[in-house]
C-alpha cells in the first residue's frame, strides 16, 4: 500500500510542470556553482604555488582545500600566508581580490545552493501534499480504501523524497565526476569520504524540509495558506535566525574587536622596539616580551571568542539550517572549528620559530622548520559537534514527520 502511494507520487511528480522547473533550476545552479568554484579554487591554487615558502623560510602557508569548491567557508582566510618575525605574525599575502562586489553577496558554493534553493524546493514538494488532495477530493477516494492514514502519509513522504533525492544526487554526482576529470583538482581518499558525508547530510537536510512542508500541509485546509506560511517559515529559518543568533550572542559575550586586538599588538611591538633603541635590555628579551604579551592577548581573545562561538552556535541551532551549515563546513574542513585549530597551530609554529631564533641568533636565515597543517581527523570533527548537528537535523525532521502523522490522523477529510 505504501509502495503504491509512493509510486503514484513519483509518477505524479514526473508528469508535473513544477518538477521539471525545479529539477532544471537545481541542475543549472549546481553546474554553475561547480564551474565557478572550481575555477576559483584553481586560481587560488595558482596563487598558492607563488607564495609557497622556500625550504627553511619561517612562513606558514596552507594550500587551499579542494573541498572548498563545495563549501568555501573560511578557506580563503586559512590559505593566507603568515610570516613569523621577531614582531610576531604578519600576513604576507591576504585577500585575493580587490573587487568589492564579492563582499556584498554570499558565495554561490554548493552549500549555499543546497541551503537556500534545495530547502525551498523540498518545501514546494511538501506544502500541498495533503491540502491539495483534500481540495481535489482525491484524499477521500484514497481513504475509502483499506489504507491507513499512516500508510498514506509515509507513502507520500517516500515518493516525494525519492523524487527529490534521485535527480539531485544524479546531477551532483555528474558534476563531481566532471570536476574530478580536471587534473588540477585532486581529492584524497579522506576528502572523498568527507564529500560523501556532506551528500548524506544534504539528504537529511532535504528530508527535514520535506517533513516541514508536509506538516504545514496537514495543519492547513488550503494549499494557498500552506504556501504562505511555509515561505515565511523558510525565510526565517534560512536567512534570519542563523544570522540573528550570532548578533544576539555578541550582545552577551564581550569579545575584543579585531581592530582593538591588532592595535594592541602594534602598540606592544612599537613600544618594545622603542625601548630596544633606547638601549633597555637586549634584543632577545624584547622578542620574548613581545611574544609573551601577544600570546597573552591571543589566549584571552581565544577564550572569549570560543565562548562567543559556542553561545552563538547554541542560539543559532534553533534553526536546524544553522546545524546544517556547522556540520557541513566542519566536515569539509572550512568551518569555524577548523579555522580555530589552524590559528592555534600557526601560533605554535610562531613560538617554535622564535624559540629557535632566540636559541641560535646567529644561525642562517633560511634554516627554520617547515609549517605543516593537516585538517583535523574526521572522527574528531564528528565528535566535536558535527555528529550532534547532523543528528539534530535528522531528529527535527523525524519530529516534524511524527507531528504530521499525529495531526493527519485527526485531519478532517470531508
Amino acid at each position: 500500500m505504501t509502495g503504491t502511494i509512493a509510486r503514484k507520487e513519483i509518477l505524479a511528480n514526473l508528469l508535473s510542470y513544477k518538477f521539471y522547473v525545479v529539477i532544471l533550476l537545481a541542475a543549472v545552479l549546481v553546474a554553475t556553482s561547480f564551474f565557478i568554484m572550481t575555477r576559483d579554487y584553481k586560481e587560488r591554487l595558482a596563487d598558492y604555488s607563488l607564495i609557497r615558502p622556500k625550504p627553511g623560510e619561517p612562513i606558514a602557508v596552507n594550500p587551499p582545500n579542494p573541498l572548498s569548491i563545495f563549501s568555501k567557508g573560511l578557506d580563503e582566510a586559512m590559505a593566507r600566508s603568515f610570516e613569523v618575525g621577531p614582531t610576531g605574525i604578519t600576513v604576507r599575502a591576504g585577500q585575493k581580490s580587490g573587487n568589492t562586489v564579492f563582499a556584498f553577496f554570499p558565495t554561490p558554493d554548493f552549500l549555499y545552493i543546497v541551503r537556500v534553493v534545495l530547502s525551498l524546493v523540498a518545501l514546494l514538494f511538501g506544502f500541498d501534499q495533503v491540502s491539495r488532495e483534500k481540495e481535489g477530493g482525491t484524499l477521500r477516494l484514497i481513504l475509502a480504501n483499506p489504507a491507513s492514514r499512516g500508510t498514506v502519509l509515509l507513502g507520500k513522504w517516500l515518493g516525494n523524497f525519492v523524487s527529490l533525492a534521485v535527480p539531485f544526487l544524479l546531477v551532483t554526482a555528474l558534476g563531481i565526476a566532471v570536476i574530478s576529470l580536471d587534473p588540477a583538482v585532486r581529492f584524497s581518499a579522506d576528502q572523498v569520504l568527507r564529500l560523501a558525508l556532506i551528500l548524506v547530510l544534504t539528504l537529511i537536510y532535504i528530508a527535514f524540509f520535506l517533513s516541514l512542508g508536509i506538516l504545514v500541509s496537514t495543519l492547513t485546509r488550503q494549499a494557498s495558506s500552506s504556501l504562505v506560511i511555509l515561505l515565511f517559515i523558510w525565510a526565517l529559518l534560512v536567512f534570519v535566525l542563523p544570522n540573528l543568533g550570532t548578533l544576539v550572542a555578541r550582545q552577551m559575550v564581550d569579545v575584543p574587536s579585531v581592530r582593538a586586538l591588532s592595535e594592541k599588538r602594534q602598540q606592544v611591538w612599537t613600544r618594545e622596539v622603542l625601548l630596544r633603541i633606547r638601549g633597555v635590555g637586549d634584543w632577545a628579551s624584547h622578542v620574548k616580551t613581545i611574544s609573551a604579551e601577544n600570546d597573552a592577548l591571543e589566549a584571552d581573545y581565544r577564550v572569549k571568542f570560543d565562548r562567543l562561538v559556542a553561545l552563538s552556535k547554541n542560539i543559532n541551532r534553533i534553526s536546524p539550517v544553522a546545524s546544517f551549515i556547522y556540520a557541513a563546513t566542519e566536515i569539509a574542513g572550512t568551518g569555524i572549528g577548523e579555522e580555530g585549530a589552524f590559528k592555534s597551530e600557526v601560533v605554535r609554529y610562531k613560538n617554535a620559530v622564535l624559540g629557535k631564533r632566540l636559541a641560535s641568533p646567529d644561525a642562517g636565515v633560511a634554516d627554520y622548520p617547515a609549517f605543516r597543517y593537516s585538517c583535523r581527523p574526521l572522527d574528531r570533527v564528528l565528535a566535536g559537534g558535527a555528529l550532534f548537528d547532523a543528528a539534530w537535523l535528522a531528529v527535527c525532521g523525524i519530529l516534524f514527520f511524527g507531528l504530521s502523522y499525529f495531526v493527519f490522523v485527526r485531519y478532517d477529510v470531508r
Partner: protein, 246 residues
C-alpha cells in the same frame, strides 16, 4: 435478495457536531445485496454525513455503521475492503490519464494484478469514450470525470457502493448512461447506497427510497409502493412542512 444479510447497515446512528448541530438523529437503514437505496433530502439534511460516517471520515456520536457486518469504527481497514466510493465533483489526478488514475485506485483497492486490457474493459463498460482512455484527466468534462469515478468503483468489485450526488451537473444522456450502469451493478448483486436530489432518477432506479429531513429518516418507500404515489409531491410536501415547522 432482501432477505440476505445487509451489506450496509446504519444502526441507530446519531451525529452531533461540536457546535451543537444535530446532523443525524437515530438513523436506521439497511441496504441488501442487489438493492439500490436512494437517499433523498435537502442540502444539510444529513445525506452526506451518513456517507461520511460509513467511510469513517468522522466518528458517530452514538450508534454504529456496519459494512458487511464489520463495525466501521472498530476495524476500518477491513471494512473498507468491502465498499467502493464515488464522490460528487471529483477532480482526480489531472496530470494522469484516465487509465493511470484507474490503475492507482485499483491497486489501492487491492486489485494489483490487472492488465491494461482490464482497465480498458471497465472504462468501456462505463461508456467512457475510447480516445479519452489515455488522455489527461484535467481536460475531461464533468460527465467524463464522473464516469471515470464510477469505473474506479466498478474495478474494485466491492459488494457495497456508496455514491454522493452522482448525477448532479450531468446532461440527460450521461445521466441515462449512469442509470444503465447502476442497473447492471444491481443485477450483479451489489448493494448500492446513493444520495441524491434527483427525484426523477431516484424513482427510476431506486428499489427503496428514503427521505431525510433534519437528520431523520422521515419516510421510506419501496418501488412498488412508489408506483402508486407521486414521489415528487411527497417530497415537496415534506420539504414544505419542514419550512412551516421552522
Amino acid at each position: 435478495m432482501a432477505d440476505q444479510k445487509p451489506i450496509l447497515k446504519a444502526d441507530d446512528l446519531s451525529m452531533r457536531y461540536e457546535d451543537g448541530v444535530l446532523a443525524l438523529d437515530h438513523l436506521n437503514l439497511e441496504v441488501h445485496p442487489g438493492e439500490v437505496y436512494c437517499l433523498l433530502g435537502a442540502n444539510g439534511a444529513g445525506k452526506t454525513t451518513t456517507i461520511n460516517l460509513f467511510l469513517n471520515f468522522i466518528p458517530p456520536t452514538t450508534g454504529t455503521c456496519f459494512i458487511n457486518g464489520i463495525d466501521v469504527t472498530k476495524d476500518p481497514l477491513e471494512a473498507k475492503k468491502y465498499i467502493a466510493f464515488v464522490s460528487e465533483n471529483v477532480m482526480l489526478y489531472g496530470n494522469f490519464t484516465a487509465r493511470q488514475n484507474l490503475d492507482f485506485f485499483a491497486k489501492l483497492g487491492g486489485k494489483t494484478a490487472l492488465a491494461k486490457d482490464d482497465y480498458y474493459r471497465v472504462m468501456r463498460r462505463v461508456s467512457l469514450q475510447e480516445k479519452a482512455f489515455d488522455q489527461r484527466v484535467k481536460n475531461f468534462s464533468k460527465g467524463m470525470r464522473q464516469k471515470l469515478g464510477i469505473a474506479i468503483a466498478v474495478i474494485k468489485d466491492a459488494p457495497g457502493i456508496l455514491l454522493d450526488e452522482p448525477t448532479s451537473g450531468l446532461d440527460p444522456k450521461a445521466a441515462t448512461e449512469f442509470l444503465e450502469i447502476m442497473a447492471e451493478l444491481k443485477n450483479e448483486g451489489k448493494a448500492i447506497l446513493m444520495s441524491t436530489h434527483d427525484i426523477f432518477r431516484a424513482k427510476e432506479i431506486g428499489d427503496r427510497v428514503g427521505i431525510m429531513r433534519e437528520g431523520r429518516l422521515v419516510m421510506e418507500r419501496t418501488r412498488e409502493e412508489l408506483q402508486h404515489e407521486d414521489l415528487n409531491k411527497i417530497y415537496i410536501d415534506y420539504m414544505k412542512s419542514a419550512e412551516q415547522a421552522t
